[in-house]
């Protein structure tokens, strides 16, 4: 439990909590990028450099931009919302608090968490590439297929059908 971990954890929790609580949706996504960057810094602290940089590229770079685009495309100017929370927000908050309580209780009472930190493994990008090309080559291929299908599917779903009928 080092000071850097505490600072990063505080930053991450503050960013994500602001992302889920702010009123303006664009501000929410901006706060969310702070939370994602904090998680990426935690990955770097844990010694997973490749995953940390992938996190920055995918989440801060792509997913947040995609969300901002979607918010801007669906935004109606002059729209005065009564509340940003749904009518069932009390039940949702209670469920989330209960889930956190159960998880925290399980973590606190587990004996598996008192492991000592093993020595830092030497994780180079070359080793990750070797593993992806040998042991994990089938999941890699399936991932490529999935991403292609998601790309085509997203375009087909979001396409404006009015053009076809003309």
């Amino acid at each position: 439990m080092t000071a850097s971990f505490l600072i990063l954890a505080l930053l991450t929790v503050a960013g994500t909590a602001a992302a889920m609580g702010l009123r303006n949706a664009v501000h929410c996504v901006l706060a969310l990028t702070l939370g994602f960057a904090g998680i990426a810094a935690l990955y770097l602290q844990l010694g997973a450099q490749f995953v940390g940089l992938a996190q920055i590229m995918v989440y801060v770079g792509a997913v947040a931009i995609l969300a901002v685009f979607a918010i801007m495309m669906t935004h109606k100017p002059g729209q005065a919302e009564a509340s940003v929370f749904s009518s069932h927000w009390i039940a949702g908050g209670v469920v989330a608090a209960a889930v956190f309580a159960v998880l925290a209780w399980a973590i606190a009472s587990s004996e598996a968490v008192f492991q000592l930190l093993p020595p830092q493994p030497d994780v180079t990008v070359q080793k990750i590439g070797d593993a992806l090309m040998h042991r994990f080559v089938l999941p890699l291929e399936i991932m490529g297929l999935l991403l292609t299908a998601a790309l085509i599917g997203a375009v087909v779903i979001a396409m404006d059908r009015k053009e076809e009928t003309k």
């Binding site: 439990m1 992938a54 918010i71 956190f100 779903i157």
Partner: protein
């Protein structure tokens, strides 16, 4: 408190924040973002268990996290496309107003 416990507690807290957002926000896009947050907290668990696990040289935790990030990216793209299609159909992203299954 050991440091693995700290990471696990942080991950549980992120999961709870994402779940609270997904269950309480009215904007469909922010509900999707809450789901992304829950996926991220699971990734943090993968990396923490990989680092503190008995065989970090096997890279399994890193591989799981990389594939999980890829799947989350695909999910975000398709989810936002569905929200855009629903918005074009019903004219709103407010989940309290999206209450009809037909037309």
């Amino acid at each position: 408190m050991s440091s693995l416990q700290g990471y696990l507690l942080l991950s549980a807290l992120l999961f709870a924040v994402g779940l609270a957002g997904a269950l309480t926000r009215r904007n469909a896009i922010l509900v999707l973002i809450g789901i992304e947050l829950m996926l991220n907290s699971a990734n943090l668990n993968f990396i923490a268990f990989w680092r503190y696990g008995p065989a970090p040289a096997a890279l399994t935790g890193i591989m799981f996290a990389i594939f999980s990030i890829g799947i989350a990216a695909a999910e975000a793209a398709v989810g936002l496309a569905i929200i855009l299609a629903a918005y074009r159909h019903s004219g709103t992203t407010d989940l309290d107003e999206m209450n009809s299954l037909k037309g």
